[in-house]
Symmetry: C2
Subunit: 424 residues, 2 copies
Amino acid sequence: MIKNIFPNFNFAKIPFVSFGAGKIKELVKISQKFGRNCILLTGKSSLKKSKILDKILLDFESAKIKIYHEIIENEPSPVLIDNIVNKYRDLNIELIIGIGGGSVLDSGKAVSAMLKEKESVENFLEDVGTKTPSGNKIPYIAVPTTSGTGSEATKNAVLSKVGKNGYKKSLRHDNYIPDYAIIDPELIISCPSNITASCGLDAFSQLLESYVSTNANPLTDTLAITGISLIIENLKGAVFQGFNDINIRAKMAYASFLSGITLANAGLGIVHGFASSIGGMYEIPHGVICGTLLASANRITIELLKKEPMQDDKLNYLKKFAYVGWLFENFNKKYDKLNSNEFLSLLEIIRINSLFTNKGEILKYIDKLLENLEEWIKIFKMKRLSELNIKEQDFDIIASNTSSKNNPVKLSKDEIIKILKERY
Amino acid sequence: MIKNIFPNFNFAKIPFVSFGAGKIKELVKISQKFGRNCILLTGKSSLKKSKILDKILLDFESAKIKIYHEIIENEPSPVLIDNIVNKYRDLNIELIIGIGGGSVLDSGKAVSAMLKEKESVENFLEDVGTKTPSGNKIPYIAVPTTSGTGSEATKNAVLSKVGKNGYKKSLRHDNYIPDYAIIDPELIISCPSNITASCGLDAFSQLLESYVSTNANPLTDTLAITGISLIIENLKGAVFQGFNDINIRAKMAYASFLSGITLANAGLGIVHGFASSIGGMYEIPHGVICGTLLASANRITIELLKKEPMQDDKLNYLKKFAYVGWLFENFNKKYDKLNSNEFLSLLEIIRINSLFTNKGEILKYIDKLLENLEEWIKIFKMKRLSELNIKEQDFDIIASNTSSKNNPVKLSKDEIIKILKERY
């Protein structure tokens, strides 16, 4: 029996959010509140192609806001951040704007923070540097063009130095949550299918991991399950037939934003442990690592949970996994066409306490979850680790560098290697 | 058929939150982050009785934080705020702490803002003054001791000048959301039954009004329905047999906090229109006004909605009311075996398209809602307007001063008077 005790928790700020199609038009007006001397970071091509960037730059010119434009080509490194910061340190920058995917948004977050510090950002990275960031920063507006990282709602920027002794670590402070997020699905509609898929799997992974996190709380649970349901409903559509449907893109963007809130407050699990260890050694996009490992990592986690006594908190985690499996089975099919009879049978299921009164039911829906995750990985053509040119001889060092984070069970090195082998 | 279009919306910040039994112990440590020169506002007696105040003051002394202690006796007026501000303006105050009910929390919010302005707060009140607040303020920590206003999560402070030409109006700015909220159900457990009841009805009213608000959005809907369900489950318990059950108090405190978030982002309706107009003329506690009018005001609103063509957005509001009625019928009875957060957010997603497929179902559950609200008002012994010494000859002026705010239908003066008469 699960104890129904309302838990203690902390919850961090979220940014002001302006959400919806066309909201990018508000950027100049919002920027004016902060100042007239601004660094704009964007990705290398997508915005340019869509001509939205030209329009934005013209608008800033009309508003007499000085824009220093920097292009972020890849996932950001400490050197990249230091270079940008050193270039602009004496220019009295009043605002940072990042418009792009996770790399751009994290770069903007780091630049906004480091313009207020005197040392290299490397000194402030978790597990790498020895300094604690002050939390001072230049105001930052984050504008996502993918539905994946949720960086527009998080307090950390992930930086990596890729290579044999590489790392992928966070610059983190509660104050680094962006001051403003403009989430406009029109900016996301041109996102290509493969990126939509890997970013969507990343967002899903963030939601699932924070949902079953050891640090989850009632508020993150509510938001996580909402986001999970939206991605179950809309990811296939966003990748395939509905890629230019603004409504589907909006729901994915909202789910991704929720994933940022939940990960910032509840933490993440083993999938993102791999994102850090593998991402520090290989130049593979973050979402691709998360996507390819999603099913295997959760299978091993679930196997370990099943070995625990089926009671108390471990049972609760299994029920949560089962619940997501249940959502897949019931919402994947197109729940907006459900009629009231179907709805009542759903309620009937819910009334069974909830949902799962016996081990058999729990295990059944956990299997459904894993089946559905595997189907996603298949239809979205996520490459196996070997196809991503990850070397088997690196498994040992990868495993040593992989943290279980807030995973519902801690994994041993052998268990971590088992996941890698399964997905090789 | 309801269109399933994902809407545009804005969402404001929420404070850092530390939630749970015993969290008040963190107050001194959190305060130290902000400074050593601090105004503490509390109510007149409850904290003192519980000896918690003595402990807090001793802790501050040990930590060498200078505390200027002000006691707020009643709902705050502009004169009260100006007096406090003038007293402390030159003392280099670095932090404001409010520990109390809505009156105390709103006073703290106003003081923290007005210490940065040079004029009377009256000049900055909505519909009263002509000035726009700068948004500058001294950092503010809000610690509720009732589960009612949700002021710890809102961006406005309500001030009133009570009398014939009185008013009850808001000082409002996005920046006025408290920097930190400590929500500790142990501080709430000593709240007397009658105040628990009226505050609970206020919180419920805030959640219901923001849920059916013309300005509601998907995020406020998710949070509102979670809070509504928690209050349906726990209000009777908190008032009667479970008043010293920390778990019930925690759920009420969480619901109240959610009500602050939803009202700050979605706005309120006709019940809070009355809270403003009646509260400006009579010294009646805010929660008592909201509680006594909850059923009548919603009945008239629903009657007007029913007269509209049953389609599009009007139908959507009726479905939302019906959904709350459905929750009363299904969750009132004991849903504490459910992991309520998760299921409710699921239900919220299913709701619009599936729960009610015909007019009969909608009307049936709307009736259930109104029956349940009336039962609450009866068992909680909410006084009628006549028992609160409101004069019938004031109805005309009250009606003239009552705004429909974001009510799903706008009410005419006659319709507003009809509510007052029904509840006289």
